[in-house]
Symmetry: C2
Subunit: 109 residues, 2 copies
DNA sequence: TGAACATATGAACAAACATTCATACGTTGA
DNA sequence: TCAACGTATGAATGTTTGTTCATATGTTCA
């Protein structure tokens, strides 16, 4: 780059959020970037479900679902309730629906 | 799974969006799941910028930025205006800011 | 108590992805 | 026209990540 961009570069940098914030933002959206996790969350929109019930609903292996639920749990998007042998998962945040709506809105354009 | 979940599985499946929709949704969020792309979009919030200007703002290689801009272009999140040697990129959609806001809201909890 | 079941998790594997390097293409101005 | 510059892109590379397999943990019930 030869021409003088110093002013623009500087003011652009100043206008941007903190580095940390932008990395966190990417990490947050990363959770929604996998179709299995999306499908799990969609399944949980109506009611809480056990792990094997989710697995059967999605026609996927129990292990796969458990691994993905772990990620959703870590990110505080779902919560667990244990009852006997089963673990019942539900959405931790009503917020999630809004985020879905927003994505759907963009897709339908 | 031994106990009878057929009813729940069936009604859950019925309540869920189309498969295609859920895959598209994941693909949409995938675009936001990378910190470089997030940073590029943040840089473009204020004004259109040339490729080399973005690269310098983020202290990253021009090639890296070009590759990521290609993805953002493919997903219709940025648009290009060519002027002489330079390509000026800008956000294609005011929508994007809303999506960012929503993510930031969740992070700050 | 032991067998059947539900869930969680580590290791291995394959696929997806971001970055870098090298280079090609197009534009400008001397 | 040729050199310098800005941008785009294919190939190579290393890393991340989702899925599978095997298995461990914990619970229920006969």
């Amino acid at each position: 780059m030869t021409h003088d961009h110093d002013t623009i570069v500087k003011s652009t940098r100043d206008s941007m959020p903190n580095m940390d914030t932008m990395f966190e933002l990417a990490d947050f959206f990363k959770v929604f970037s996998d179709s299995t996790r999306i499908r799990i969350m969609c399944a949980l929109f109506e009611q809480e479900l056990s792990v094997c019930c989710i697995a059967e609903t999605l026609s996927m292996e129990q292990s796969t679902i458990s691994h993905q639920l772990r990620i959703l749990r870590r990110e505080n998007l779902v919560k667990v309730r244990k009852d006997g042998k089963q673990s019942y998962y539900s959405l931790a945040d009503e917020h999630i629906k809004q985020i879905f709506e927003m994505g759907l809105e963009h897709i339908s354009e």
